[in-house]
């Protein structure tokens, strides 16, 4: 008799516990509009998707309005990169006053092997490179993921001399 009683008690408990869980599901079913966590993609993505400012999407070499960048071709970023995603190709040029100078020729970035570890940007003494929060980077062929970051015709931004700073 007692075991039968216990059995019934257990069955009732089981149903109550399942009903409690289902109640939660029901509540979400009713209030789905208020707690909607799905974001629309790719439609309306410019308005609905918020990518965080710091999100590591790709390495960029910012240029200013005069088509000048800050990279001195010191190759520290290339050394810091753990998987050789960066190739700095420099060239020798002769300045107007006859001095030989090493400047950046090509800043080659292999997005296909980059792991977004931030070590190149951390290593750069000139703060020449940055992480951009772009995320739609896929292409059909991985060979297309090799970019040259410095724009054609761009050159090193001259540091303001002491005189210019004072004026």
């Amino acid at each position: 008799m007692k075991s039968l009683f216990n059995y019934i008690k257990e069955v009732v408990y089981a149903f109550v516990s399942l009903a409690k869980g289902l109640l939660l599901t029901l509540r979400y079913f009713v209030t789905i509009r208020k707690v909607n966590i799905t974001e629309e993609y790719p439609n309306n993505r410019t308005t609905t998707i918020s990518v965080k400012e710091r999100f590591y999407g790709e390495v960029v070499l910012p240029h200013d309005e005069n088509n000048e960048h800050k990279c001195t071709a010191c190759t520290l970023c290339q050394i810091a990169c753990p998987n050789n995603s960066i190739q700095i190709i420099s060239k020798q040029i002769e300045t107007e006053d006859g001095k030989k100078k090493r400047v950046l020729d090509k800043w080659v970035y292999h997005l296909d092997s980059c792991t977004f570890c931030y070590q190149c940007i951390d290593a750069c003494p000139q703060d020449a490179i940055e992480m951009k929060n772009s995320f739609e980077l896929s292409v059909y062929d991985r060979t297309k993921l090799i970019y040259q970051l410095n724009r054609p015709g761009s050159k090193l931004k001259e540091k303001p001399t002491v005189k210019e700073q004072q004026s």
Binding site: G21, L23, L24, K52, E53, F55, P82, Y118, Q119
Partner: protein, 376 residues
């Protein structure tokens, strides 16, 4: 005719053992792990795990990389404890160099560690319930984990493999809104906690699938070198944060969660309570979040003095040990990782043998294996 086979009578029905390969591609193993299960009917007779499907040679790779670079690889071992793995490596290097990091860096590190533990346990809660047959918790677990990942994304730039904790402190300072963000997040998470209990902890089916199933005695847990929630659910006190505190855990007030049930249910309860403890730890740090430097500048090329260094930390799965043999150059001579999942994998066999095949999945999910952590 002579050779005609005779139908055996039911009394002399001959049975034999049957070997089933579970994996390497199986949703319940959460990764590429192959388990060779010897079955007698539905009863498991023997378990033989086969490893190596996701072996990337991380230990060997570190030997050809400068110390600073090799840290980012450790995020890829136990990807659900990426911050904590980075932390272990950074601590080992800092100890060798004798660097003291600032109070702010320590606080950021511990908050990140504990948030990481929360994400890991929330994912574990969802996938554990899914292995046992419930699908809704998986989505709820992911929903709450997503909130924390957003904090990671906003502050560290990455969501899974952060490379944020580095020797000397952290890579970048947290956002000015970090403290308020985390406070808001904790409020939200605490509001959701009762749903976990309502849906799964009180669930009759779940309780019967876990209670008394997957027994791992204290002696077995110790002899298999289990750690983390698996060992603590068998009554072994092994929390590294309590026994060998690092980076200011000694100043914080939290309990080591120990359960003496030794079964799947006990492991479940330990995980759930650890989430509460993590929230409690973060709250203490947020109340007086230190200001100051987030990073102690160290030289560009790190050279460890010759010798051997060992550092252990508590990841979401147990004790992670980093053992470095340095020869004075900028690369380690040998770097060895003692990963928690590898030792905990040994617990699958003693918990499962003698039970039904369906219990194997329940046991594996409460033991909480991360396969890349087993193989490295």
């Amino acid at each position: 005719m002579e050779n005609q086979p005779t139908t055996p009578s039911p009394t002399e029905l001959r049975t034999e053992e049957f070997v089933v390969n579970i994996g390497p591609q199986h949703p319940a193993t959460h990764g590429v792990l192959r388990i060779e299960a010897t079955l007698d009917g539905e009863t498991v007779k023997d378990i033989l795990p086969h490893l190596g499907y996701i072996h990337r040679g991380i230990e060997k790779m570190t030997e050809s990389m400068p110390y600073k670079q090799s840290i980012y690889l450790t995020s890829r071992m136990d990807y659900l404890s990426a911050h904590i793995n980075n932390h272990a490596c950074s601590l080992a290097i800092e100890n060798a160099l004798g660097i003291e990091v600032s109070a702010r860096a320590k606080a950021i590190r511990i908050i990140m560690d504990e948030l990481q533990r929360l994400t890991s346990h929330e994912l574990w809660w969802g996938s554990c319930a899914m292995d046992i047959g419930a699908v809704t918790p998986f989505f709820l677990g992911f929903r709450d984990r997503e909130r924390i990942l957003e904090i990671f994304e906003a502050n560290t730039g990455n969501r899974l493999t952060m490379n944020y904790i580095i020797p000397g402190g952290v890579m970048r300072d947290v956002l000015p809104s970090f403290v308020t963000d985390v406070k808001e997040l904790l409020k939200k998470i605490k509001g959701y906690r009762h749903e976990y209990d309502q849906l799964i902890t009180g669930n009759f089916i779940f309780q019967h699938r876990t209670q008394g199933v997957g027994y791992l005695s204290k002696e077995q847990a110790i002899s298999l070198a289990c750690s983390g929630p698996v060992a603590r659910a068998s009554g072994v006190s092994c929390d590294v944060r309590k026994h060998y505190p690092y980076d200011g855990y000694e100043k914080l007030d939290f309990n080591e969660v120990i359960d003496y049930g030794c079964d799947n249910w006990a492991r479940y309860l330990v995980h759930m309570e650890e989430m509460n403890q993590s929230i409690h730890i973060i709250e203490q740090l947020l109340d007086n979040f230190p200001t100051g430097e987030y990073r102690t500048k160290i030289k560009g090329i790190i050279k460890l003095p010759e010798g051997e260094y060992y550092q252990r930390v508590e990841t979401a799965r147990g004790e992670l040990g980093v053992y470095i043999v340095a020869d004075g150059s900028n690369k380690p001579y040998r770097m060895k990782f003692r990963t928690p999942s590898f030792s905990n994998l040994g617990a699958v066999k003693p918990t499962t043998v003698g039970l039904k095949i369906a219990d194997l999945m329940a046991n594996m999910s409460t033991i909480d294996l991360v396969v890349p952590d087993i193989d490295r």
